[in-house]
Symmetry: C2
Subunit: 452 residues, 2 copies
């Protein structure tokens, strides 16, 4: 009957979500500040409509945090739901087949920025809560903490958590911001990578120069930046920053074997990405390269003339955004410092280098033994008819480590997305089926968890 | 009395030039197409006011060519003046201290895009012609050919020249589009570098990816592009493209010694550019690196997220504009082909590479023995009281080689700019003194040349 209710309200659930997706809550771009707040207000209203006791926008130095709670009986266990209502920038816009903030359904998938990451997944929890309220079968207390700065490093959530430990008291944290292996192979994420996100500036001459008059006699900051970036990996795909791997937790042969048992088809993988060959750290499988190994990627680079046609300029500056994904037991602040020191150390005398740290986050591993994980596993078993596979996810939800540290709480990462959902890319989408099954599985989780 | 006339008309000369500089004739950017034509019309009108027999806009596939002539006596020698009225793009705009298309005089210098390259220098010829007409002392025939596509490779001038050989008959070509060593050390350019301008695109995955989900397992096209660019130079600053140096004309010890006799102060050079160290091909001086050695520079690079804040994207594509300066006897088309072949050859199997050629031009060396060079030398002697030093310029005026080939004509490169004029850069400027002395020296050239 829960299932019937979810099915018969499908259209309303989706049209509500669409209204939310239409608000461009891009946290990285200050031009959208007003929209980010609108998105928070929208969630606040939906939560109170669904029947929480109290809900508020908690102001921060940046974007507000939506906090809500429903306490049915203090003696019952409490689940703290975390998510984020901010989204990644939508560019490059020209690659979207439909406008990023005008959601449409195509081939049973919702296309919009934030459809999966993370508005779509957060909204499953709002609707699961509505379902349980409507059926009077909410079996435990719920708290919601949904932030608007996850895509820019959750700068202010740490302070909020530290200052609200009493209010945030709970037994477990539940997050839906990760992906399943596939609809055929449900999975639960048990590991996340950390992050250090840097920006570098290389300055050569004090002004843009004519590449004819000066070319060959003055160092070109773009060429120099390319040399420096190239030197950050060796021929085996290892990062060359001294000390980078010192704290990396090596898995046992048994653990690695278990990890590699997860279904993975390299040909499908390459086909989906349109590549002939994969590339990564020597000696590790693709699953391991994204799951248990740290990496370094250039996320953006720019310098000189990038317009139409040809401009023979020897530019003054070149820039790059470079991020590193971290694994247990690397520490973001330490890696940030190692990078900064190394990048300055390898800068040749004919350029000047600036390095700034954008944001970071710690890696995390969650237990498969906890009652909450077991409840989540049973919930999948019940709704999907399959036991979910524990996986290591390559992405980062820095907040998980913070919760462990500040609140002493374990997290269950019960995400329903797919790696192919193109989050952070043009044409981000989220399966309608994923959304609907998600709502059902979340309701089942509470039922199972209350029984523990 | 010529001098007096020039002095007493200084303000008018400059205000006319300012009107011309206000027209943003950026040939590389199609949005300025209309302005480029306006700039051509402006020149046409000024030439007819100055007294040419006939002047016309000759249409091309691209921007029009302004052609004008004054034939006083077919039996007298004819000077063909070449220049260009198009300008480089003005970006990065934010680095200009005054708007690029609102000329102002600061510290006796004209600040505006095109102030020196090449509107300011072309306008000296228009005014020199006016002077000679007013004083009835034009000693030979003059033809003007001023194009609007020099900054984008003079794509259509070649056709124009081939189709108008009769009309362009002359004894010498005179061009002011180069620089003096300094006001204290007048010089005449006797060598120019050629150019091959390429654009490359490196494609990894078929869409932008989440750098957490895929980072470490899929080749990042930006990192790959950086590796490829880094590999284009060896540790001695030599270009690694096979065959790149095969045709480079090596100068004799005597020629190199003569070249290095030109006044050059490395400390002033570094101070002017704000750099601690210079960087270039091992075994050559700065004068040689820009004068007689070929080079490779990245003129622009872009890929991934370059906006505000942080976006954890593993991009699908990365791009770069890469140009090579060529010296005798390299051939632009051959170097373009060598680059293309090499760049594709070094592309790893996990990316796809596209290479397109923007434009090229041939290097050129002009004789110091020709009557025209001798006349130019005497003109400097007369106006500046010093014999000009022959120099090799690092820039390119591809058309010089074309004139030699198609019209069989020698060129005299009598330029009055300074390397510090920041052409192709923000805050391009041109000394008022350079402009005024230029007009005077050009008039003196005709006087001297007619006497040969």
């Amino acid at each position: 009957m829960v299932k019937d209710y979810i099915q018969s309200n499908k259209d309303r659930f989706l049209s509500e979500l669409f209204d939310w997706l239409r608000i461009p809550s891009v946290s990285a771009d200050s031009r959208y500040k007003g929209d980010v707040r609108k998105a928070a207000e929208f969630l606040k209203n939906k939560l109170s409509e669904a029947g929480v006791d109290r809900v508020e926008l908690s102001e921060t130095k940046g974007h507000p945090i939506v906090y809500a709670e429903k306490i049915i009986d203090p003696s019952l266990p409490t689940v703290l739901v975390y998510g984020h209502y901010d989204v990644q920038p939508a560019d490059p816009l020209n690659l979207w087949t439909s406008p990023p903030f005008e959601p449409v359904i195509n081939d049973e998938k919702i296309y919009a920025r934030g459809a999966c990451d993370d508005k779509g997944q957060v909204y499953m929890h709002v609707k699961a809560f509505e379902v349980m309220m409507k059926h009077n079968n909410l079996p435990c207390n719920i708290k919601f903490m949904v932030e608007g700065e996850e895509e820019v490093g959750s700068d202010n959530l740490g302070t909020f958590v530290k200052e609200n430990k009493e209010r945030l008291k709970a037994d477990i944290i539940l997050i839906s911001d990760t992906a399943l292996i596939s609809l055929e192979h449900p999975s639960i994420t048990t590991g996340l990578r950390g992050l250090s996100y840097m920006e570098v500036e290389v300055t050569g001459p004090n002004r843009d120069l004519h590449s004819g008059v000066y070319g060959g006699a003055v160092a070109n900051p773009i060429n120099v930046l390319c040399n420096m970036i190239a030197s950050l990996h060796d021929e085996n795909g290892k990062v060359t920053i001294p000390g980078f791997y010192d704290k990396v937790a090596e898995l046992s042969a048994k653990e690695r074997e278990a990890l590699n048992r997860a279904p993975f088809d390299l040909n499908d993988y390459k086909k989906d990405l349109g590549i002939d060959e994969i590339k990564g750290e020597k000696g590790y499988s693709t699953v391991e390269r994204t799951g248990i190994r740290p990496t370094l990627d250039v996320n953006g680079i720019w310098g000189g003339y990038t317009g139409e046609g040809a401009k023979t300029v020897l530019p003054s500056k070149a820039h790059a955004k470079i991020s590193m994904r971290l694994v247990p037991n690397q520490v973001s602040a330490e890696i940030t410092e190692l990078f900064t020191k190394h990048f300055k150390a390898i800068a040749p005398s004919y350029v000047k280098v600036k390095v700034i740290a954008h944001h970071g986050g710690e890696p995390a591993v969650t237990s498969t033994e906890s009652p909450a994980y077991q409840a989540a596993s049973r919930a999948f078993q019940k709704v999907w008819g399959k036991t979910p596979i524990p996986t290591r996810d390559g992405g980062s939800i820095p907040i998980v480590a913070l919760f462990k540290k500040e609140l002493g709480l374990e997290t269950v990462l019960m995400g329903f997305g797919l790696d192919s959902d193109a989050i952070h890319s043009p044409n981000e989408h989220y399966g309608v089926k994923n959304f609907m099954l998600g709502v059902e599985t979340i309701v089942a989780f509470y039922e199972q968890y209350a029984q523990k």
